[in-house]
Amino acid sequence: MTQGRNPTILEVFQQQGLSRRAFLQFCAATASLLALPAVRAAELPAKLGAMPRPTVIYLSFQECTGCLESLTRSFSPTIENLIFNTISLDYNDTLQAASGDAAEAAREDAMRKAAGKYVLIVDGAIPRLQDGAYCVIGGKSALDSLRHAAEGAAAVVAVGTCAAFGGIPYAAPNPTGAVPVQDLVGNRPVINISGCPPIPEVITGTIVYFLSFGVPELDVHRRPLMFYGNTIHDRCYRRPFYDKGLFAKTFDDEGARNGWCLYELGCKGPVTYNACATTKWNNGTSFPIESGHGCLGCSEPNFWDGGGFYRPLSSGFWHGNVGAELGGAVAAGAIIGAASAYAARHRQKATSGDK
């Protein structure tokens, strides 16, 4: 064991009795997952191998542990799990055995040791009202622990729509004043991996990419373009049905049975950027549309307030009662119109007086 510094990722592989060939297998799989260009794929083993095993702090705030569930893929020891081992996950209050002051002390210690170099993963939104009283862990509010943890982080990875855009806690009426990570962390690069939950490979793939090549290319919402570059609609295998105008009208009609487009059943694919249609879920088994349900748009901001999961994307998005408002408008129009006609008649009578 080489003392004095963290073991490199390759050394961690070997400590677990895995050969460099195993590491090369892992790099090949990750490169193809990230669709890295040939040059980068060739560099990956060298870069990733030489990386000292990074410290990763995983802080959970206003979240449902869905993202963690997705990340840990508890039901099958797959490649992602190994990634999980290659990164030194020094703190995760759900997974670690330790708890209470011991756990907090361990975290502080890990953060101090890898100050400025550890990767901070944040899961869940951060409530601001009553200066963070709605989410307090170990006597410290989420607000303070995020600020404190972010100080020493090399980068902050916001996992899940809650951390990236506020998600459910942020949805109207947002009683706790929840905000996403990017609203609080200004001075550190923030990478949003939105989704509710995000695809496991997308989380680990982004982390691996970050370890090897630094912050990946991000879109306008700071999401890695390699996973969030295309809309589901553009990559959906049912797209030909959309273009032919063949739509399922209900979840069990002939259209649904034939796998037609789910646009009329509220699919938000056209306005949702994610890798579901290509990388798919559960080891490439399927993704929501393939199993017959429209995309909810879970990787987009405010998707909870997007006007209903089963209302077609192009339907009106009203606040209040349309009928009443339009009725009122018609009445108002009639009154103004009648007034203008009356005024006009009055002007006419005024002129007919004189010869």
């Binding site: 306008v220 553009d234 077609p312 119109g337």
Partner: protein
């Protein structure tokens, strides 16, 4: 996404309100003006028949005028019918109308809509060229004509661009498309587009008056 939410939410809602107020205001302002009674002996009392007959017959030029009006009229119908097919045939549009009124009907394949949209755009362009070059039209045309043309072309153009995902992100293009529809709805009652309502009222009125005299319709 929030630009899109503003567009398809409050912006569309307010433009529909302005549309409703404007249309009823203008119609009321016209129809509630004085109406002089006609005491002359009618040649026919089937004024409603005359109204309907004119509304139908004036949709196409009479034989005697056809050779001078066929070209202009064809351009007009290509983009009018084109607009109708695109607006009422494209499934997302139908779903929007259904969300507003509850009425829905089967749509056309999207491919046909894209082709029709392109044809409509071409016809609208031809109409503008004609308005800019024909001496009669140059004399008659004012700001309302050109602005109304712009306001009609914008939704078609932005719609096609949105569908083709050209340029910006899809939601931005969709938002721009919906904003252009908002502009169309809000402008309609105050400019020449009001002819979409007045065409029936004007033709009907004149048809009724002429039928009463037994004059040619």
């Amino acid at each position: 996404m929030d630009l899109l939410n503003i567009a398809r939410g409050p912006a569309l809602q307010w433009s529909l309100v302005v549309f409703a107020v404007g249309v009823v205001w203008r119609l009321a302002g016209i129809l509630l003006l004085a109406r002089k009674p006609d005491y002359t002996e009618p040649r026919s009392t089937n004024t409603w028949g005359g109204a309907v007959r004119m509304i139908v017959s004036r949709t196409w030029s009479k034989r005697e005028f056809l050779d001078r009006t066929a070209f202009a009229q064809t351009i007009g119908y290509v983009f009018h019918i084109g607009l109708a097919i695109v607006v009422f045939g494209f499934v997302p549009h139908i779903l929007f109308i259904r969300s507003l009124t509850g009425l829905g009907w089967p749509g056309l394949p999207s491919g046909i809509i894209y082709v029709t949209g392109a044809l409509t755009l071409a016809a609208l362009a031809a109409a503008l060229v004609r308005r800019l070059t024909n001496p009669v039209l140059r004399l008659l045309s004012n700001v309302d004509d050109y602005f109304s043309w712009l306001v009609t072309v914008a939704p078609v153009a932005t719609g096609l661009v949105a569908v083709a995902h050209l340029g910006a992100r899809y939601e931005t293009l969709l938002a721009v498309h919906i904003f252009s529809v908002c502009l169309l709805l809000a402008w309609l009652p105050f400019g020449k587009l009001m002819h979409s309502f007045l065409v029936f009222i004007s033709r009907g009125t004149t048809g009724a008056l002429l039928a009463r005299k037994g004059a040619s319709i």
